[in-house]
């Protein structure tokens, strides 16, 4: 497979996964903003997901509709859904003959749905949950189409590596964002709805209820999001999948690069796997998450160097 094509697959997939994460996070945060008597702040959201500095974030933080506009259709926000899906589609366009026609059409429809001028208007006036749901459905349609129509070859391995890498980074980011807020406001530690919204935005609420009977505890949330092998958005689940799909790229012509990367992924996997909530606590959650994030970025850079460098 052409290096450029592999890179496009990987980025297409990362962008779509990112859009999914952002949409779900927006939806839950919006719901949460309707469910509180204090003034709801979007500050952590725009800081982490749009990379705004404190000053810029402050101008937006209490204006829900402005945040939604900025995060979904904002042209100046590099991580707005509009810009993300435009990038995803450009990547797909450049590998159009490698993806199925169904998948291309599906991405196209997603793109046109976000581009539609009615969307921006509706986002300002109508129920945001309904609108975010329409877009979330487009992502689900994408995943279904990939599952049903895409060949199980090298291209899909690159897609999956991109997808799980992005997902792991997102879970780490969301977790970090929530736990950092606690440092500023320790009352949140015992705030049930705070944890409930964190789990909802990762789609892990039902699983949590089934696993833990004693209500919402920070440590349990941490355990599920980092260490639970059965939770599809946990960090360990994502890293296991990165490894699984990376193994499929093994090829005699590229053995040296393969070993190099395999080592990096394995190291990260062990780092998470042979850890417990208690040891993470001891180490300090923020330090732990910062390190994991660093390792994940490292894997992304290595992919670039060893597999896409040609492009």
């Amino acid at each position: 497979m052409l290096s450029r094509v592999a890179a496009s697959f990987y980025w297409l997939s990362r962008y779509i996964e990112r859009s999914d994460g952002i949409l779900r996070m927006l939806k839950i945060n919006y719901a949460s903003s309707q469910d509180t008597i204090q003034e709801f702040t979007w500050e952590p959201v725009v800081r982490i997901f749009a990379g705004l500095d404190d000053e810029e974030a402050q101008t937006l933080e209490n204006d829900t509709r402005a945040v939604l506009k900025y995060m979904v259709t904002g042209k100046t926000n590099p991580n707005s859904i509009l810009n993300i899906i435009t990038h995803a589609r450009e990547n797909a366009r450049s590998v159009q003959e490698h993806i199925t026609k169904d998948l291309w059409q599906c991405l196209n429809e997603y793109y046109h749905a976000v581009k539609d001028s009615r969307l921006e208007r509706a986002l300002q006036r109508e129920d945001p949950i309904g609108i975010l749901d329409v877009l979330i459905k487009q992502v689900m349609l994408y995943y279904g189409t990939v599952e049903i129509t895409m060949e199980r070859g090298e291209g899909r391995s690159f897609m999956n590596i991109g997808k799980y890498l992005e997902r792991a980074i997102q879970s780490v980011d969301i977790l970090d964002m929530k736990f950092v807020s606690i440092n500023d406001n320790p009352d949140l530690l015992t705030d049930t709805s705070y944890w409930k919204h964190l789990l909802l935005s990762l789609g892990g609420y039902e699983l949590y209820l089934k696993t833990y009977r004693e209500g919402f505890e920070a440590e349990n949330v941490l355990e599920q999001v980092v260490l639970n092998n059965d939770f599809p958005r946990s960090v360990i689940y994502s890293v296991n999948n990165i490894q699984r799909y990376f193994d499929r790229l093994k090829n005699d012509n590229n053995l040296e690069n393969f070993r190099e990367m395999s080592f990096q992924i394995g190291r990260l996997q062990s780092r998470i796997k042979y850890n417990s909530v208690r040891s993470i606590r001891q180490e300090g959650l923020h330090t732990f998450l910062t390190q994991i994030r660093g390792e994940l970025y490292g894997i992304g850079n290595a992919m670039n160097e060893y597999y896409f460098a040609n492009s």
Partner: protein
């Protein structure tokens, strides 16, 4: 005879050949089934079909992007839902004519890049060839596989007031539009269920497989699985959709210049598992941009050293480089002479009479009759830089004349030909619009094959004679009847 409401309101243009409207104010036989079919539909139904066509083009991404104030806007090429129909008899004539013409043009390219008998025998003046910017000395004595230069061509045909076919242009470099031939047919299948088989319309779907077969046959390495690629300028090219469609339909790799590298006179593509040798390149990058070492040094779209690999015979390039000398508008005038010279045959398809403005007498004649003339640049395309004498102001004509006098070799003039008209569906009724026809011919080691169909372009503006998509043109599905 009773006709439909749509037909009764139809006003053919005076003095213009109408594809549907025959003598005695009747529907021509080959259009009858289509007219019957649509007369059973209300205007509302047809409007819905028009909308459906638009949506299908949009959702399939059959679009081009217009960049405006930094923002990309997706546009579709306008599509008219009423097909253009060609009878079996007309097609047989066109097919024979194109095969003859291409055979002669291909011999011309072989000759002009080797012995140049046609110049020595005084058939074409030497200055016409050597002043052509697309005549590439780099191609001189370069052996191309099977002596084929024009693997893929699109010959533009028009019909005068009496229905006679004329060749307007030979497109022998990287003709585009074939994906519209294929996609328009797919859309028609959706718009008019059952109509295609009822009318006995010949299929166009063989095009990619014939092209693939021809590309395969050109591989310099005799191996069972040569690497064939389609070289595209990239996603910002307006024909990118076509590149991906063809690559997908043939199952070949779509590459950009940055994916390829030349080493030791062989071309390789960069893959995730190292370099892989490339045997055949169907390139959609112009000659000028193909090799920065030989042609335009600032080109980012090409591959450094590819010309060397080509000269060595290590890679086949389709179409051959330097074909522009054969579809130059000044050389065009000599094509009938070429046919007589190389084949000893009378030309089947006529040329539009062409005046060389480099020639003083002809220039005077053109200037004297400029209202009846179309003046074109010899190296222009896309309908840009043309002067339509009958539709221009005095000032425009005067300015254009000044341009001509600066560089007369760069211009030709032709009498205004009345393009034929075909019915288009517009605002609830049928109305005539001017059309042309571009069939696509594939020239392989086993001969020339022309898929029964082509691209019918239509000038959607009332009264307009310019069918180019860049000038408000659209397209129609093109039916060839069995």
């Amino acid at each position: 005879m009773e006709e439909s409401a749509y037909f009764n309101k139809y006003n053919p243009i005076n003095g213009v050949w109408d594809e549907m409207y025959g003598e005695n104010s009747n529907v021509r036989d080959h259009y009858r089934k289509v007219i019957d079919y649509i007369s059973r539909e209300s205007a509302d139904d047809l409007n819905k079909k028009e909308d459906l066509a638009k949506r299908l083009f949009m959702s399939q991404g059959i679009t081009f992007t217009v960049y405006n104030s930094g923002e990309g806007i997706e546009k579709i090429f306008p599509f008219d839902i009423i097909p253009r129909i060609i009878t079996a008899q007309e097609w047989a004539f066109v097919e024979r004519g194109i095969k003859q013409r291409l055979t002669a043009l291909n011999l011309f390219l072989k000759d002009v890049y080797s012995n140049q008998f046609i110049i020595k025998d005084g058939i074409i003046p030497i200055e016409v060839i050597y002043s052509c910017p697309h005549f590439l000395r780099e191609m001189y004595n370069l052996q191309v596989p099977h002596d084929i230069y024009i693997h893929i061509s699109g010959i533009d045909l028009i019909r005068d007031y009496d229905g006679t076919f004329y060749v307007l242009e030979d497109n022998l470099r990287t003709p585009s539009g074939v994906s519209y031939m294929l996609e328009n047919r797919e859309i028609t299948k959706r718009l008019f269920p059952d109509l295609l088989p009822q009318c006995g319309v010949r299929s166009v779907t063989e095009y990619p497989s014939i092209l693939y077969k021809n590309l395969l046959a050109l591989s310099p390495r005799q191996i069972h699985n040569p690497t064939i690629v389609l070289l595209s300028p990239g996603i910002y090219n307006s024909a990118y959709f076509e590149h991906t469609t063809l690559a997908r339909l043939m199952g070949v790799e779509l590459v950009e210049g940055r994916d390829l590298v030349v080493n030791n006179h062989k071309v390789y593509m960069k893959t995730t598992t190292g370099l892989q040798q490339v045997d055949v390149i169907y390139r959609r990058v112009d000659d000028d941009y193909l090799d920065p070492l030989v042609f335009n040094p600032s080109s980012m779209l090409g591959v450094a050293g590819i010309m060397g690999a080509y000269r060595k015979g290590n890679v086949a390039i389709v179409n051959a480089i330097g074909n522009g000398v054969a579809d130059d508008k000044a050389v065009y005038a000599y094509v009938p002479d070429m046919i007589k010279y190389y084949l000893n045959e009378e030309p089947i398809l006529k040329n539009v009479p062409t005046y060389q403005l480099g020639n003083r007498d002809e220039r005077e004649h053109v200037f004297g009759n400029i209202n009846k003339m179309v003046v074109k640049r010899t190296n222009g395309s896309g309908g840009y830089g043309m002067l339509m004498g009958h539709a221009s102001t005095e000032q425009e004509i005067e300015d254009y004349k000044q341009e001509i006098i600066k560089n007369p070799r760069d211009f030709i003039a032709q009498p205004t030909i009345n393009l034929s008209a075909a019915p288009c569906y517009m605002q609830g009724e049928l109305t005539p619009r001017r059309i042309d026809l571009r069939p696509y011919a594939l020239f392989g080691p086993s001969g020339i094959e022309i898929v029964p169909g082509g691209l019918t372009r239509v000038a959607l503006k009332e009264g307009s004679l310019v069918v180019n998509s860049s000038q408000g043109g659209g397209s129609k599905d093109t039916w060839v009847l069995a």
